[in-house]
């Protein structure tokens, strides 16, 4: 049986469709999860997609964090549920304190939509085990509040524990601390990043197909050893 991967739709989610397409392209079954539903419908992993949940009013991800489905996700993370937050999903994970740090306004104070290179730093996580350490990939960054911020102690700890998922290669597009583009929990299961691997699964409609291994990695991680 193929893995079932849930993709949550919050009011204002935008890249949920693309995330489902990426899940299907990776060979798994995408399952639509609704923000208001306090059930995960037995999915094996969850993707929190990009977009502007609740309009990104107040702070990006601040209101979505309290959605009923988030309560379920927070509970299941404790028992090892792999969760990937992309862009707005990453912001939600930080707001929910499932990942350390916060995402703040881009230094240039503008929304930035650009094809960029990132370097995969950790290949032991559930979402990046299909990459090679140090591999550089081309993906899309599109966000207004994508600058990763955390206090010095947290940054040092992330570094020491190998929790930096990926970094911007080349110039830092948004002022993120330590060029950090994504981080992962100490368990290696909950990951978040600002760039969009789901937009990079087909060179026809994205800058590359380099993002697909995010979605195949989790299948490998889920497969019984």
């Amino acid at each position: 049986m193929t893995a079932r991967i849930g993709v949550v739709t919050f009011p204002g989610s935008l890249d949920d469709r693309d995330a489902r397409r990426a899940v299907a392209r990776a060979g798994a079954t995408p399952v639509q999860l609704w923000h208001d539903d306090a059930s995960l419908h037995g999915v094996d992993a969850v993707v929190l997609p990009g977009g502007f949940s609740y309009g990104d009013y107040l702070r990006c991800g601040a209101i979505a964090r309290f959605a009923p489905v988030m309560g379920e996700i927070i509970g299941a993370v404790g028992s090892g549920l792999p969760v990937l937050g992309i862009c707005n999903g990453f912001q939600i994970l930080c707001e929910a304190h499932l990942l350390p740090g916060a995402l703040t306004r881009n230094v240039a104070r503008r929304f930035i939509s650009r094809d960029i290179r990132i370097r995969i730093e950790t290949v032991t996580s559930a979402w990046t085990c299909g990459y090679e350490a140090g591999q550089e990939i081309t993906v899309v960054l599109k966000s207004g509040e994508g600058a990763y911020a955390a206090d010095a102690a947290t940054l040092a700890e992330l570094e020491a524990r190998g929790q930096i998922l990926c970094r911007y290669a080349g110039s830092n597009p948004n002022g993120s601390a330590g060029d950090i583009a994504g981080v992962v929990s100490s368990t290696g299961t909950v990951a978040g990043l600002m760039p969009h691997p789901e937009h990079a699964i087909d060179a026809l409609t994205g800058p590359s197909a380099d993002g697909l291994p995010f979605f195949t990695s989790v299948l490998r991680a889920l497969a019984p050893a």
Partner: protein, 77 residues
Amino acid sequence: MPSFVVNVMLKPEIHDPQGDAIASACHRLGFPQVASVRQGKRFVIEVSEPASEQRIAELAAELLANPVIEEFSVHPA
């Protein structure tokens, strides 16, 4: 209706590009005495029944401010 003000500011150690940009704009506009600008948020909250400042502070801590990067204060309006 009674109301409260909640002020939310970025913690001093968090970079505020918006504030910096405003400070430089001040200089260009002929206000050289501006040394720094920090931009935060101000919420004016009307409550339909009497609510304690304590309760509003709970709301601020839970929703209106992100403790990782922000600090807040509550005042009756």
